[in-house]
């Protein structure tokens, strides 16, 4: 029974559901993100039962498999926003390009200055993309997908928490600019935060997340060809 997917799939969904309920009760506070809490609990369960990660990984493949179709499906909200994209093509294109480059250069640059080796740099380079894309890109570049997942998650929490005070301090009141920046810088967690504030900001954040997944992945695959 321990070798079939049934046990660990059930445990994973159960632990996640418990923390997801707690997260709902907190009004979806970024620090209560269920993955942030379910991950250490599951690691504890693996250690306590002496289960190797390879066993757990194989058992939970049905869950991980869904990430691919989920990423493909991000095209649907982009298509639904096509009128707005056409109208705001220039701000979207310029902000997206500037944001993607800033994110990659600052994250990789700081770690490089601190002496991190290449697999760590490859793990943080896609940190602004949505988690499944970051894991795939990190893997392609010779990084560590699990590390990329946790970095991205943390970046989302940071983005969702600092966005309002930071953008207020910069005097940015336009909800299109605010929402788009949150999606580009902090992917799905940022988009969830943007939806709490304003519907336009939320739609722009979803758009920023989907577009940045493509742009950052494309930029990094070009960089991978050069270095």
């Amino acid at each position: 029974m321990l070798a079939t997917p049934l046990l660990w799939l059930t445990v994973t969904l159960g632990v996640f559901e418990a923390f997801d309920t707690a997260s709902k009760r907190s009004g979806r506070h970024p620090l209560c993100h269920p993955v942030l809490w379910a991950t250490p609990v599951l690691i504890g369960l693996l250690l306590a039962t002496g289960t190797p990660y390879a066993t757990y990984h194989a058992a939970t493949l049905p869950l991980s498999f869904l990430l691919g179709p989920a990423v493909v499906g991000l095209a649907v909200p982009v298509w639904a926003e096509r009128a707005r994209i056409r109208r705001l093509a220039l701000p979207i294109a310029l902000a997206l390009g500037a944001g993607a480059v800033t994110s990659i250069v600052s994250a990789v640059g700081i770690l490089w200055l601190l002496g991190a080796p290449r697999d760590i740099l490859a793990s943080i380079a896609p940190r602004a993309t949505t988690t499944p894309v970051a894991m795939a890109v990190a893997g392609q570049l010779g990084g560590i997908p699990a590390l990329a997942a946790v970095i991205v998650l943390f970046a989302g929490v940071v983005g969702a928490m600092v966005a309002t005070p930071l953008l207020d301090a910069l005097g940015l009141r336009d909800y299109r600019a605010r929402g788009f920046a949150l999606g580009v810088a902090a992917h799905g967690i940022g988009a969830a935060r943007a939806f709490q504030v304003d519907a336009t900001a939320g739609a722009m954040a979803s758009l920023g997340m989907a577009l940045n997944a493509v742009v950052t992945a494309a930029l990094l695959s070009v960089v991978a060809l050069l270095v």
Binding site: P34, A38, V76, T102, T130, V137, A155, V162, A181
Partner: protein, 118 residues
């Protein structure tokens, strides 16, 4: 419903094939997203089921990457050595990206015919 799932899987499969054939580091699913976008543009029609299926998948993205995050169990050495540097770089990069993206967006809005888009 089946047709929506088929469309998502077919786009991903196509993306995966392009990824393998070209050797690009661009993940198959991301190429698949671009393929789906092209398909939606080429065959325009109302697709409530596709919107429902992809909406459900997106809404449950978080639980799908839990198994990958648990992979940190084997990265203890990396975390204890570079944990602080990773935190510093992630915080700085996220704050900078937010500010730069929002400021460039607002600056470029001046070139857009003043829309009442809100």
């Amino acid at each position: 419903m089946l047709r929506a799932i088929l469309l998502l899987l077919a786009c991903q499969l196509g993306g995966e094939a392009i990824h393998r054939l070209t050797g690009l580091a661009l993940p198959g699913a991301v190429i698949g997203m671009v393929l789906l976008l092209a398909w939606l543009a080429l065959v325009p029609r109302e697709r409530p089921t596709l919107a429902a299926v992809s909406g459900w998948l997106t809404a449950h993205l978080a639980v799908m990457f839990v198994p990958a995050a648990v992979g940190l169990i084997d990265e203890g050495a990396v975390l204890s050595r570079y944990g602080l540097a990773l935190v510093a770089a992630t915080v700085a990069s996220t704050v900078l990206t937010l500010a730069v993206t929002a400021l460039v967006f607002r600056w470029a809005l001046r070139f857009v015919a003043d829309g009442d888009d809100a």
